[in-house]
């Protein structure tokens, strides 16, 4: 269990460390992050370049050492070694010649040859000692070699000297000469070997260095590439990723979504600052939204209040207008009825006047017949008297009827007169409605878009009010016309009544004359003529009356029609008021 927990804890720890490192990296500004990749690459390049410089410097040093020190030294030592061996061989030859009695000239040549060899070898070994490219070890070795060489040289000389006189002894001495030469040669060989070893070391060092350098370059390049790629990737994830997130947040914000989680605020870089700024923006948006909502609610509240006010106003308006409309309707109904009555009366008057006209014609014929048969007058005085009585009764009746017509017309006038204040009231209401409509229009304008419908209704109401006003004006005009007609009817009726009164008086006089003037037929004839004239005038008047009555009939018809239209318009008004109120209440 513990074994399983421990690595997990370690892993978690490592992850935490990694995260903290990432956190620190995240706090770096984007500029630093962006330059990190090139900085890493630059560092790698610098490291590789430095390494290459140092390595090539070392290689150059090694090569210089090889070509300028080790190789010449080795050559010199090898040559020396060869020369020593050659001299050694010469000494052998000398002793051999001495033992075998070679002639003295050759011997002395060889002798001097060997001596000069030995001297030149001494000089060369000495000069080897003066070389400045010797290591301390080599120098001590050369010192030793010099000592050995000294011995070797002296032994060689001894051998040669002895060989001149005592070849046998010289042969004996070859052993030691051989030894010392071998020792010197061995020393030279070992020195050459050492130099070769040094050269090999240098070469192998160079080779190793070159190989290592190759590896370093490969590893450095790979590392540089990997680190750069890693840094690139890191920057990618640490800049592009957060920027995408920030863009997403901004897009959401721009879409009006303010309840989003704002992350990466604790970043120390520009993105953190950006996110901070966005958060401020988001808060401002939220505040603005809240403010807007508050305003909207207040506006709604105000609109509701206004609507309620309007509704109350509408209720009130409805009440008053309905009352008025009802009153108007009632008045118009009454008017209509009156107009009907008036019309009937007018028709009645007409028929009466026609019948009067007929009667008058009859009367005229009678008068004519009176005038024509003056002599028959006496005879038919009684007849006449009765007929006069009839005429008188008829006249009375006519007078009564005229009176009745006059009274009716007067009543009509009164009824019309009653309409006038109603129309005034309607006009006042129309004005008031107009004012209301005006107010409503202004309110609608102030309400803006939401009051548009209301403005339309207000305009309709305004039109309605104007129509109402024009209708009432027309009614007024019509009423005035009716009034005028009625006035003239009354006057004519009065004239008719006057005329009838005059007929009545004439009839009375005629009755008296009937009883008195039997004698004077001329008088009677003249009177009859007069009567005929009068009756003609009456007939004319009657015709006039008839015309008037027709006019009256027409006027009352018109009044009736006007009242009907008024009724229709009252109904329409009522309807439109109702629809207006509906609109107002609906608004």
């Amino acid at each position: 269990m513990e074994d399983a927990v421990a690595p997990r804890a370690a892993k978690a720890k490592a992850m935490a460390r990694l995260r903290s490192v990432f956190g620190i990296l995240g706090h770096l500004s984007i500029r630093i992050k962006a330059s990190a990749a090139s900085a890493v690459l630059l560092a790698c390049l610098l490291a590789l370049g430095t390494n290459a410089y140092l390595t090539s410097g070392r290689s150059a040093g090694g090569l210089r050492m090889l070509s300028h020190q080790l190789e010449p030294k080795l050559q010199e030592v090898s040559r020396l070694s060869e020369a020593i061996v050659a001299t050694h061989m010469k000494i052998f030859r000398y002793v051999s010649w001495a033992s075998n009695g070679v002639n003295e000239k050759l011997m002395s040549q060889l002798y001097s040859d060997i001596i000069s060899d030995l001297d030149s070898l001494s000089a060369r070994i000495e000069s080897l000692n003066t070389r400045d490219d010797l290591s301390a070890e080599e120098r001590s070795r050369v010192q030793m070699l010099l000592a050995e060489w000294k011995l070797c040289k002296s032994q060689a000389k001894d051998t040669l000297d002895v060989g001149q006189s005592d070849p046998a002894m010289a042969t004996m001495m070859l052993g030691q000469t051989d030894d010392s030469f071998k020792a010197v040669d061995a020393d030279f060989q070992s020195m050459a070997n050492d130099i070769k070893t040094a050269a090999t070391n240098v070469q192998s060092n160079l080779y190793t260095a070159a190989e290592r350098n190759q590896k370093i370059i490969i590893a450095g390049t790979a590392l540089g590439f990997l680190v750069s790629a890693f840094v690139f990737f890191m920057i990618g994830t640490m800049i592009v990723g957060p920027i995408k997130k920030v863009t997403d947040i901004m897009r959401q914000l721009s879409a009006g979504k303010t309840d989003i989680e704002i992350r990466m605020r604790d970043r120390g870089d520009e993105i953190g600052q950006m996110v901070e700024a966005i958060d401020v923006f988001r808060k401002t948006m939220i505040d603005m939204h809240a403010m807007e909502q508050t305003t909207h609610q207040a506006e709604q509240h105000r609109a509701a209040e206004r609507r309620a006010e309007m509704r109350a106003l509408a209720d009130e308006f409805e009440k008053s207008v309905q009352q008025i409309a009802e009153d108007l309707a009632a008045a118009v109904t009454v008017m209509h009825k009156n107009a009907e009555v008036m019309s009937l009366i007018a028709a009645d008057t007409r028929s009466h006047s026609q019948s009067i006209s007929g009667t008058v014609v009859t009367t005229q014929a009678n008068v004519d017949s009176v005038a024509g048969a003056a002599d028959e007058l006496a005879r038919s005085i009684e007849d006449l008297a009765s007929q006069t009585q009839n005429a008188r009764e008829l006249t009375n009746k006519t007078v009564e009827q005229s009176e009745s017509a006059r009274l009716n017309v007067k009543q009509l006038l009164e009824a019309v007169g009653q309409i006038v204040p109603i129309t005034g009231l309607i006009q006042a209401i129309a004005q008031q409605t107009n004012l209301l409509a005006l107010n409503a229009t202004i309110e609608a304008a102030r309400a803006g878009a939401s009051g548009k419908g209301f403005a339309v209704v207000a305009a309709e109401v305004k039109t309605l009010a104007a129509q109402t006003a024009s209708a009432t004006e027309e009614i007024n005009r019509k009423i005035a016309a009716v009034h005028a007609s009625c006035d003239s009817v009354v006057k004519i009726i009065e004239q008719v009544v006057g005329a009838i009164g005059a007929i009545g008086a004439g009839n009375a006089e005629m009755a008296a004359a009937v009883s008195q003037q039997a004698a004077s037929t001329q008088e009677i004839s003249r009177n009859a003529q007069q009567a005929a004239d009068t009756s003609r005038s009456v007939a004319r008047n009657i015709v006039e009356l008839d015309t008037k009555a027709r006019e009256n009939d027409e006027a009352s018809g018109q009044a009736l029609e006007g009242a009907g239209r008024l009724l229709d318009q009252a109904a329409m008004l009522q309807q439109q008021v109702a629809s207006f109120l509906r609109h107002v209440r609906a608004a």
């Binding site: 032994q155 001894d158 006189s165 046998a168 030691q176």
Partner: protein
């Protein structure tokens, strides 16, 4: 030189002329006796005279058939030689015989060690000039050692 040496030998040293040879080659005793004679002269006449006489073939006391003395210092330098004057002045410390024996080194060791003794080696016979087996008696003599050898047949 030779005359001086001769004179010196006869007048100053007065060494007895050895008895007539009993054999063709010298014996061990004769070799030891010759060493003793050199020692005596060294003590009596000093180094230089002794060296001169030893090297002078005319001095009969030091040159008897194949017997002759040789004197080296302790560095291996030959200072006097009864048979091969060419060696005088040469350092032969590293001289080897055909068997690889360091002859002079052995003699120096013997002189510095026990002071005397016999050393066997190979050496050219002065008479035949052939390399033969030789046994030499060696004795310390001051800063030097002196030896006389016999050739063993």
């Amino acid at each position: 030189m030779r005359i001086f040496a001769m004179l010196g030998l006869i007048a100053l040293v007065g060494i007895a002329i050895p008895a007539a040879a009993t054999s063709e080659f010298g014996s061990k005793d004769e070799a030891v006796a010759m060493v003793k004679r050199v020692q005596d002269e060294f003590k009596k006449n000093g180094a230089e005279a002794t060296f001169r006489d030893v090297s002078d073939k005319a001095v009969a006391g030091y040159h008897d058939r194949d017997l002759y003395p040789f004197i080296y210092d302790m560095s291996g330098k030959c200072v006097a030689h009864g048979a091969r004057p060419a060696l005088i002045g040469k350092n032969l410390m590293n001289l080897k015989d055909q068997d690889g024996k360091y002859i002079i080194q052995e003699m120096v060791k013997l002189s510095q060690g026990p002071g005397n003794g016999w050393v066997d080696y190979k050496w050219p016979n002065p008479i035949t000039n052939k390399i033969e087996d030789k046994s030499s008696y060696v004795e310390k003599m001051g800063d030097y050692f002196v030896g006389v050898g016999i050739y063993r047949q």
